[in-house]
């Protein structure tokens, strides 16, 4: 399955987005946790320092600076405890490990290099400095490297949790997305098969305890197809019924006419009338046949088969059939055929092209020039019939594709008025288009079929 295909799936996109959100959420949560850890730690450290300073201040007031110096020396030796410096009013150190800080009264952050006190890795410190009642100066501090270690450990943990979570999320979404994509794809395949005429194809369904949205999609798709199949068979049924109900009486009319013609014998008047009725019945039948044909082409999914057709060869055969008629009538014929393969129903396409040629014959004068061409244009196989007759005015070109439309209002020339609509319907069955354009002067009617791929 190609990546682009995968990215086209809604499920995969959602999962991808979710993973991104997850990563962002982890990052925000991590930063907030680190910040709050820092704040809580600082607060605790400061409380401890202030408590110690208060205790030592009280000791200084009650028992003198000597007692403070001893207590400081004792406390300073405890590992991982607080750091102290006790100095006299002139800044000379009396007790404690801290080197002179140079800090004023109150809170100070110190950022020292290792070199300040060899052997003791003071780096980041927070210190509180206060002058005691006997004017000696007490500084109590806490090394912050513990805090930064804690913060880094927390950061690493959050990072790995996030990375693993995101990784698992991505893999899961890929797998889930692929599964969902396959199932959606099978619905798409079924849809294409049905629109290609195989009405019995359905989307695969599975027996799920709790059906998900794709199950529902498949199920409603299949229900819709059943409905369409019923409708289509009803349409076929109705047109078969119509055909029967109209053809049977017409058959009777024909039979009675035949009897009348015989009985008439030499009565020329009766014979002529009977023949006229015969022609009228023929005309009626032609229109009726064309209507049924149109309905069949538009509605019958079983109709069009997919043969590999060379448009040039097929057109060549039609030209052979119509050529003598065209030339005998005085029209000039110009034919240029370039091989172009496409897939379609040879019978239907033959009818479409024949209709275009008959149109050109019907609407041009006897000295007209008719060009029939097959050529490849881009990825289309195009057959065109061009005449130098009167053409069709721009504003009428849309209208002539409508049923029963005739350019001349009198409707005296033969033809069902369904020729071009049948061509349009046949084109639609083939994913082709019918274009009418000005040939200056005359009309160019072109049918463009999507060409068959090399592999197809």
């Amino acid at each position: 399955m190609r990546a682009s295909r995968l990215l086209a799936s809604t499920g995969v996109r959602l999962a991808f987005l979710q993973t991104l959100l997850l990563i962002t959420a982890f990052w925000v949560a991590g930063s907030l946790t680190r910040l709050s850890v820092k704040l809580i730690y600082r607060h605790e450290v400061q409380t401890r320092i202030l408590g110690e300073v208060a205790a030592l201040t009280a000791m200084d007031r009650d028992r003198g600076v000597g007692a403070v110096a001893r207590a400081v020396a004792q406390d300073a030796r405890r590992p991982a405890g607080l750091e102290y410096r006790l100095a006299d009013a002139d800044g000379r150190g009396l007790s404690g490990d801290l080197p002179p800080t140079g800090a004023g009264q109150g809170w100070t952050y110190l950022d020292w290099d290792d070199a300040v006190v060899p052997g003791r890795p003071f780096q980041d410190l927070i210190v509180y400095t206060q002058t005691l009642p006997d004017r000696s100066v007490l500084t109590v501090g806490q090394d912050l490297s513990e805090e930064s270690k804690l913060r880094h450990a927390l950061g690493r943990m959050l990072f790995w949790c996030g990375a693993v979570g995101a990784g698992v999320g991505l893999v899961l979404s890929y797998l889930l997305g692929r599964g969902a994509l396959r199932r959606v794809q099978s619905v798409v395949v079924a849809a294409r098969a049905v629109s290609g005429g195989r009405m019995q194809v359905r989307a695969p369904t599975r027996r799920a305890l709790i059906p998900d949205d794709i199950d529902e999609l498949g199920a409603s798709f299949n229900t819709m197809l059943d409905e369409i199949a019923t409708l289509v068979s009803r349409v076929r049924w109705v047109s078969t019924d119509i055909a029967h109900d109209l053809r049977t009486p017409l058959t009777h009319v024909r039979q009675k006419l035949e009897r009348i013609k015989r009985a008439a014998g030499v009565d020329a008047e009766v014979l002529a009338a009977a023949q006229q009725i015969d022609r009228d019945v023929d005309e009626l039948l032609r229109t009726f046949d064309a209507m049924l044909r149109l309905a069949e082409i538009e509605n019958d999914p079983h109709l069009a088969c997919q043969d590999r057709i060379d448009l040039a060869e097929l057109t060549g055969r039609i030209v052979d059939a119509y050529g003598p008629d065209l030339e005998d009538s005085g029209r000039r014929l110009e034919v240029a055929l370039q091989p172009a393969l496409f897939e379609g129903d040879a019978d239907l396409v033959t009818q479409a092209i024949a209709n275009l040629i008959e149109n050109a014959l019907r609407h041009t004068q006897a000295d007209a020039m008719i060009q029939i061409r097959v050529e490849k244009v881009g990825d289309k196989a195009v057959v065109s019939v061009t005449d130098n007759g009167p053409g069709i005015p721009q504003d009428q070109r849309e209208a002539v594709l409508q049923r029963f439309h005739r350019l001349e209002p009198s409707r005296t020339t033969p033809g069902s008025g369904l020729g071009l609509p049948i061509v349009t319907a046949i084109a639609a069955r083939h994913g082709a288009t019918l274009t009418l354009s000005d040939a200056g002067p005359g009309l160019r009617a072109a049918l463009s079929f999507p060409m068959a791929g090399k592999a197809g």
Binding site: T251, D320, A321, T350
Partner: protein
């Protein structure tokens, strides 16, 4: 020639019987599918004419049943079901020809004769067809009139071949369109007439009647003078 007509529309059945009688055929009638199947099993016929929409048993099932029993009598479907799909189903279901109502008698007669097993003057397998002094070499794709080579276009050759294979029998315009041109629709122009006249111009001798005879209201036939 003996023909069985399976048709539930009495008026049409009578009409077909009368006209085929006139044409020299003996005609039996059956009013529904089951009766038709029974008669077709019981007696030997040259051709069966079967409607598709019949009471009790439809025409397609009737023919399928006969074909399953290896009854090979030629079948002509005569039906109001004229859609392309119906025609395909009829021919695939064992029918030999398909005629849509309403039909002309001439058309029906021509098709019944073409279907019947009455020995044709020309056999289908013959490689050399001969009508009078016209000879057609089906392998060499060439034609000669009185020994003189005639230059025919491929379509003209096919047309002449079909006419000669049916020597002495009428072939109708729609039969020609189906078999020679392979058109499954009715062209609104005179393409058949034009091709016939071009063919006549090539094979006929000036001052003599044409080998290809126009049968008014029916079609064409080729016959030695």
């Amino acid at each position: 020639m003996r023909v069985l007509v399976v048709e539930d529309d009495l008026q049409t059945a009578d009409y077909v019987r009368d006209s085929l009688n006139e044409f020299g055929c003996e005609v039996d009638l059956a009013g529904d599918g089951e009766a038709g199947l029974a008669q077709a099993r019981r007696d030997l016929f040259d051709v069966l004419i079967v409607d598709r929409m019949l009471p009790k048993l439809d025409g397609l099932s009737l023919v399928s049943a006969l074909r399953a029993e290896d009854v090979r009598t030629p079948v002509l479907f005569l039906t109001a079901m004229g859609a392309i799909g119906d025609r395909v189903a009829g021919l695939e279901g064992g029918g030999d020809d398909y005629l849509v109502k309403p039909f002309s008698l001439a058309e029906l007669n021509a098709r019944v004769v073409a279907l019947s097993r009455r020995p044709a003057l020309q056999t289908r397998e013959a490689t050399l067809l001969q009508v009078g002094s016209l000879a057609l070499d089906r392998l060499g794709r060439s034609a000669r009139m009185d020994g003189r080579e005639i230059d025919l276009l491929p379509l003209q050759f096919k047309l002449l071949e079909f006419l000669m294979l049916n020597e002495g029998r009428v072939v109708t315009r729609s039969m020609l369109l189906e078999r020679v041109w392979g058109f499954r629709f009715d062209p609104q122009t005179n393409i058949v007439e034009t091709h016939i006249s071009h063919l006549r111009a090539k094979i006929d001798t000036a001052g003599q009647p044409s080998l290809i005879i126009t049968v008014r209201g029916a079609g064409y036939l080729i016959r030695a003078r």
